[in-house]
């Protein structure tokens, strides 16, 4: 059986896993984005807070994903819960860092003008600063998504959903009839999904970044 026959044979299961994989990554990116932007907004005005938040998020990233899942499984059990938590934690760093950099890069004169003509603090943040930091935040989300696509494969170790199942079963069944087919399906599938999401990000950027600040 070659890889195409393998895929068409199990299309319903593979397409479902592909969908679950993407869905988990996208949802985790969104949760990480909400948390990351909130953290970024909370700390960007204080140099110490910014340094601390970035350092903490970096520390999480240095923990190997296997080890993190190993720590989470005893606490949260098997399934999607430890996977989601691990993915959100890994997704935080690029988003927090880019939010801080993006907000910090807003010309103080523009924030001053916004305040000076009568915008409230919240108005300055939501209508001016976050809008100007948005391209950076979006870039952070893009990096996070790409990273999570790979980590989600490992999450199959905790019996999380996604194409990781194919890869793990290829590893555990090494030498069997379909091991290569499974490994190729899992790996190439993740690459294709990542490219599709990359394309969607480009469209989102085009639609949401003001022409006045587009590079």
């Amino acid at each position: 059986m070659n890889v195409f026959e393998y895929i068409s044979d199990r299309w319903s299961s593979i397409s479902l896993q592909a969908w679950l994989h993407t869905s988990a990554v996208v949802q985790c990116t969104i949760i990480a984005a909400v948390l990351g932007v909130l953290i970024g907004v909370a700390v960007y005005r204080s140099p110490i807070g910014s340094a601390l938040a970035t350092a903490l998020a970096s520390t999480i990233l240095t923990i190997p994903s296997f080890a993190l899942l190993g720590l989470l499984i005893p606490i949260f059990g098997l399934g999607s819960r430890p996977a989601v938590i691990a993915l959100v934690l890994y997704g935080l760093l690029p988003i927090v860092r880019n939010t801080i950099v993006g907000l910090g890069g807003v010309d103080p004169a523009i924030s001053d003008a916004a305040k000076g003509i009568g915008m409230s603090r919240l108005g300055v943040l939501s209508r001016v600063e976050l809008r100007l930091a948005w391209p950076a935040i979006l870039a952070g989300m893009r990096v996070a998504t790409q990273m999570l696509m790979g980590i989600e494969v490992i999450a199959a170790y905790a019996k999380g959903p996604g194409l990781g199942g194919e890869v793990f079963s290829a590893l555990s069944n090494a030498g069997s009839a379909n091991d290569v087919n499974q490994a190729v399906t899992g790996t190439v599938g993740v690459i294709i999904l990542a490219l599709i999401l990359e394309g969607i990000y480009a469209i989102i950027a085009r639609l949401t970044v003001s022409r006045g600040v587009r590079g």
Binding site: A113, K115, I117, G118, M119, L132, S210, G212, V213
Partner: protein, 402 residues
């Protein structure tokens, strides 16, 4: 004049000639930053008259910007009172207060992600104007600052030149028709020619709008050009002198002010005075183009004069003719030499002086339609400056004695 004030910030478009600004009063306003020994601004008291441009001028770090920013509470005063049009500015909600005060800064501070239209519409939007009214107002503002609404409304700030950005900045500051305008070195970042144009535009706008404007600059020439009154500020925003530009030029209160005024105070004074303000010489012999040269010569000899000014059929000065040229001339229209520079009653004395230096003597002055109004001479300029100095010579006697 000052009793016809429009205090509403709700966009009552001012009637031509009416003062739409209100008085600002600062009373012992102090700003002290924690951890510093001396206050940044120390007991600053001043009345900014309604409908006038008051310039804060002083070296950098003297506290002039801090003082201005306390008026719209971008910096909260530590102590003191600020009233705007009789209303206590420190008791209002700071955001509400700022929506009633126009604010324009260096490099315009435009929102780069907003179009020109969106930038101008911000404050009316914050005040909750309906969409139609905002649209109409944006168009009106763009016309006012000389930007074609059709061409510019959809552009982003980065697609504009520095001067155009600054115009949008002024339009945004004026959009909600605030009675008071604060300007922090608004023309500091543009080239000298554009800067001059923007200054002229501001003066033109001000004759129409009559806002109360507080303008911060470190450029004394800009202060002289724009200010109804100038406050020269020293350390901790202490007022070294607060007076009209010509009074400060004629008689600086002390050496620090004199140093700030810089060299050439008298020359700067000349930019403040117009030809219409001085007495013109009107006994210069004139002749029409169709008179006969011989007859004109006879007249001149009889009056003991050497030069005659030839006026054309519409009474506009056209040539100077010397008596000895009259003997050979066929007609007055071709005799002598054509005039070089002319000055009008609107010209500044500086322009007049320039023309006199180029012409080597008196220069004919023309009225509104180009008609001959008299001749201005070097002596007139000198005696005018002399007179102003004498008028202001006693200005600081009280202070000197104390």
């Amino acid at each position: 004049m000052a009793d016809r004030t429009v205090t509403s910030a709700e966009g009552a478009t001012s009637i031509d000639g009416a003062v739409s600004g209100v008085e600002i009063e600062l009373e012992k306003v102090t700003k002290r930053y924690p951890g510093t020994k001396d206050p940044a601004v120390n007991e600053f008291s001043m009345v900014v008259p309604a409908g006038k441009i008051v310039i804060f001028v002083g070296p950098s770090g003297c506290g002039k910007t801090t003082t201005m920013r306390m008026i719209n509470r971008l910096i909260e005063p530590t102590s003191g009172r600020i009233t705007i049009g009789g209303e206590d500015a420190l008791k209002l909600n700071a955001d509400t207060l700022r929506r009633k005060i126009g604010y324009a800064i260096q490099q315009a501070g435009l929102f780069p992600h907003f179009t020109v239209e969106q930038n101008i519409a911000v404050v009316p939007g914050l005040l909750g104007w309906d969409k139609k009214r905002v649209e109409a107002r944006v168009e009106e503002m763009m016309d006012l600052v000389g930007l074609d609404p059709k061409e510019f409304h959809g552009r982003y700030p980065r697609q504009l030149s520095g001067g155009q950005q600054q115009r949008v900045g002024v339009a945004r500051a004026l959009a909600a028709d605030p009675p008071v305008l604060l300007m922090d070195e608004p023309f500091g970042a543009v080239d000298p020619i554009t800067r001059g144009n923007l200054q002229d535009e501001l003066l033109r706008l001000q004759t129409e709008l009559k806002k109360t404007i507080v303008f911060v600059t470190h450029d004394f020439d800009e202060a002289v050009k724009l200010g109804d009154k100038i406050a020269v500020l020293g350390n901790q925003s202490s007022i070294l002198q607060y007076d009209s530009p010509d009074a400060i030029l004629a008689n600086p209160a002390n050496d620090t002010v004199a140093g700030f005024v810089g060299a050439g105070a008298s020359l700067k004074q000349l930019t403040l005075l117009r030809v219409r303000d001085v007495e013109l010489k009107t006994d210069v012999p004139t002749a029409k183009e169709d008179e006969s040269p011989a007859a004109v010569r006879e007249q001149l000899v009889k009056r003991g004069k050497h030069f005659v000014l030839v006026l054309d059929s519409r009474n506009r000065p056209s040539r100077w003719v010397h008596t000895r040229e009259l003997g050979t001339a066929a007609t007055m229209a071709t005799a002598g030499r054509p005039l070089g520079d002319l000055v009008s009653l609107q010209s500044t004395l500086q322009d007049a002086l320039e023309a006199m230096l180029a012409e080597g003597g008196g220069v004919p002055v023309t009225g509104p339609r180009g008609e001959y109004a008299g001749v201005i001479e070097l002596d007139t300029v000198m005696s005018t400056i002399q007179k102003i100095r004498e008028e202001h010579a006693d200005d600081h006697q009280e202070e000197d004695q104390s």
